[in-house]
């Protein structure tokens, strides 16, 4: 029974929202350590992946509801994202990717000159 869930591909749930200067992508990836997390941008596609092996403990599992395996998800980046400035942070099993917008895509206030 214990091996049924292993090596399963998990699609992490995400929140994506836009601020004026950047787009934030937040993904739940519980159990992933920093060294087991991979982020990659190729052909305008951002791929996030990570591994969660599950707790390694001996004993009898009386309740087993967690899904272990490899997190994997791909996102297409719009042309307004500055791909060279993408940064990421992993905290408490949550990955936050900051996708800064290109200068031209940032909102600009236009001052109106007095006539």
């Amino acid at each position: 029974m214990a091996d049924v869930n292993t090596e399963k591909r998990i699609v992490p749930p995400v929140d994506i929202y836009e601020a004026s200067n950047e787009v934030f992508l937040i993904a739940d990836m519980p159990g992933v350590k920093k060294e087991d997390l991979y982020l990659n941008i190729e052909n305008d596609e951002l791929t996030i992946s990570g591994k969660f092996d599950g707790p390694a403990e001996d004993g009898k599992k009386l309740i087993s509801e967690c899904i272990y395996g490899n997190y994997f998800r791909t996102f297409t980046l719009s042309e307004t994202i500055d791909q060279s400035k993408v940064s990421a942070k992993l905290e408490n099993g949550v990955l936050t990717v900051t996708l800064p917008k290109l200068e031209k895509a940032k909102p600009k206030r236009i001052t109106i000159e007095a006539a």
Binding site: I16, P30, V94
Partner: protein, 160 residues
């Protein structure tokens, strides 16, 4: 995800899989009530009417039984550890807390991560030595160690 929507999706799936002139024909056929009738789906739907939406318990847990202790792992990504409430009352452990949205009052392009208040009660298989319960939170996993009360530990009985 609401199961009701899923069920509706089973019947109308044909519409989405045929993006050509057959669409209208397909639409006609799904009116036939028994064409896509699935006794299993029907049974689930009936169950749902009695039990409410089939929502899995949050957080999902693993309960591992060892000789001298029980360990519970709860998958709780992105929670401020100081807001997690753990209570043991009798043989029940309660995990409660709140998972907050990353930002309030904005429009989400995607909003799939669960959020809100949660509370889950887990029946413990053994009496617990309450004073020695430990809990830690790392990588979004809450680990609770529950040492068994002396009388619950297995004992070897020597035959004289």
């Amino acid at each position: 995800m609401n199961n009701r929507i899923l069920h509706a999706g089973i019947g109308s799936h044909a519409i989405y899989s045929h993006r050509n002139k057959e669409v209208i024909e397909m639409r006609m056929t799904i009116i036939d009530p028994f064409r896509n009738w699935d006794p299993f789906v029907e049974m689930q739907r009936t169950m749902e009417q009695f039990l409410g939406p089939n929502r899995p318990a949050y957080p999902p847990v693993e309960l591992v039984d060892q000789t001298d202790k029980t360990i519970i792992y709860a998958v709780l990504p992105g929670i401020d550890k100081d807001t997690i409430e753990l209570t043991i009352l009798g043989d029940n452990l309660t995990i409660a807390g709140e998972k907050k949205l990353p930002a309030e009052g904005i429009n989400y392009i995607r909003n799939e991560r669960p959020h809100g208040k949660f509370r889950r009660q887990i029946a413990l298989p053994y009496s617990v030595k309450q004073e020695n319960v430990s809990a830690s939170y790392k990588d979004g996993i809450l680990t609770i160690g529950l040492p068994k009360a002396e009388e619950e530990k297995p004992r070897n009985i020597t035959v004289e």
